[in-house]
């Protein structure tokens, strides 16, 4: 455990540029948008929209983080893999640090989204809190979920790189990714069987805003939330959790047994 915690500490240092980049890009975007909308008197509206857009962009935070962090290790595989720790420990350290960084970045963005949002949407504090928590948890969980698929794709890339040039290996993985996505949707997700195993444990979330409506003219810009009564199935989350655990252990096994330095 002590070795793994030390590895986590190292991963925080490896992945720091991604956190800094995310925060700096957000702040630069914020300043530019605030400066351009200032004379129209819509600064807070713009801040809210930037917050919402950048917050939604965090769906891809973990994928980018993992690509960067694994890319750093690719140059020093002899160092990263020469370790008695199981590969799942090596990868988990990256997942944990990426998740912490994403939460930090998302919290900063959420503050802007909330402060800006207050100016163009009149929700009660409870509603804001509910929407905020649901959105926050979904962005974090989707981002982590997606990154596990990215880890598998990257490990397959490392594996193929032993047999073909990097560019070709990357192309094969990229095409394979879309074939996998197409087949998994067509053969699994879009079936009655999948519906049966996922659509259980219905949870009613009540009214949830799920889209934005923009009404922009020369004189004014009106932004409204649109929403409806929403429910989710616990089954969907459980099945996806099991799926990514399987994907994670396949990636770990490949890294442990098949990837060569």
């Amino acid at each position: 455990m002590k070795a793994w915690l030390a590895l986590v500490k190292k991963e925080f240092r490896v992945g720091l540029p991604i956190l800094l980049l995310a925060v700096v890009l957000f702040l630069v975007g914020l300043v530019i948008v605030a400066a351009t909308t200032y004379r129209f008197g819509h600064v807070w509206d713009a801040v809210g929209i930037i917050g919402l857009v950048w917050g939604s962009g965090h769906f891809f935070f973990m994928a980018i983080y993992m690509l960067y962090s694994l890319g750093v290790e690719r140059k020093k595989l002899h160092l990263w893999l020469h370790n008695p720790m199981h590969a799942s420990g090596l990868l988990a350290a990256k997942l944990v640090t990426g998740t912490v960084y994403m939460i930090i970045s998302l919290l900063i963005v959420s503050i802007a989204a909330y402060l800006g949002g207050l100016h163009f949407v009149e929700f009660s504090n409870d509603t804001w809190f509910k929407i905020g928590i649901i959105a926050f948890l979904h962005v974090v969980s989707f981002s982590v979920d997606f990154s596990v698929y990215v880890i598998l794709a990257y490990v397959v890339f490392l594996l193929l790189e032993r047999y073909m040039p990097s560019f070709l290996s990357g192309t094969v993985v990229f095409i394979g990714w879309w074939v996998f996505a197409y087949l998994s949707y067509g053969l699994i997700v879009d079936t009655k069987f999948y519906t049966a195993i996922t659509e259980w444990g219905k949870i009613d979330l009540g009214f949830i805003a799920n889209s934005l409506q923009f009404d922009i003219s020369v004189k004014e810009a009106i932004v409204n939330f649109q929403g409806e009564n929403t429910f989710i199935y616990a089954g969907n989350y459980v099945i996806e959790l099991i799926t990514i655990l399987i994907i994670f252990f396949i990636a770990s096994w490949l890294l442990d047994k098949k990837v060569e330095v």
């Binding site: 030390a6 002899h78 160092l79 008695p84």
Partner: protein, 229 residues
Amino acid sequence: MIEFKDVTKRYMTKTALRDVNLKLDKGKIIGLVGLNGAGKSTTMKLIAGLISPTKGSVELDGKKVTRRMASKVSYLSELDEYYSFYTVQQTIDFFATQFPDFNKEKAEEIRAYMNLDANTKVKHLSKGNRGRLKIILTLSREVPVLLMDEPLSGLDPLVRDSIVKGLITFVDTQKQLVLLSTHQIMEVEMILDEVIAIKDGVLVDHRDVEELRYDEQKGILEWMSSIYE
């Protein structure tokens, strides 16, 4: 201790090692020599578990070698890529956390002996000092097997000398097996107990250096010339 049984390693169409049978015992410093591309690095990586044989098996103390055999093997790569944001001391500390057998006192002793500043960032180290850092990290582990792939490559004579002297001083020749590959034969000849020659992926000879010297009146270079010419 280490045993290669009919080991072949292929990379696509290229055969890096072919039908290698080899036994290495502890308590020796063994040189692995050969021309570039002969299969020296492949041999090292197979023992470190960083690659797997295409055919045959590599065993350490009777167990098949895997990547996680890093708990018994300290491997110095020919590459000197380290985490550039760390200082020398932070790199040593990080290694100490990853390997329970890492001896920090010994690391400090070797660092002082190598005259390497603990507070310099790795990214600011010269090639020679990165070579020294590699030696510190490798020799500070109290493991049965030390693998050193080209530890003297590209370094100036003074650094090479300090590394060779470091090997004599800091390796426990009773308990540890050191396998080192190098082109600088002259500089390591005096410390080698055995020498292995590889040519085009084939193990061509494995000799006791003292026997070679007294029985055949040959130094390693002469012996190599007879093999490679």
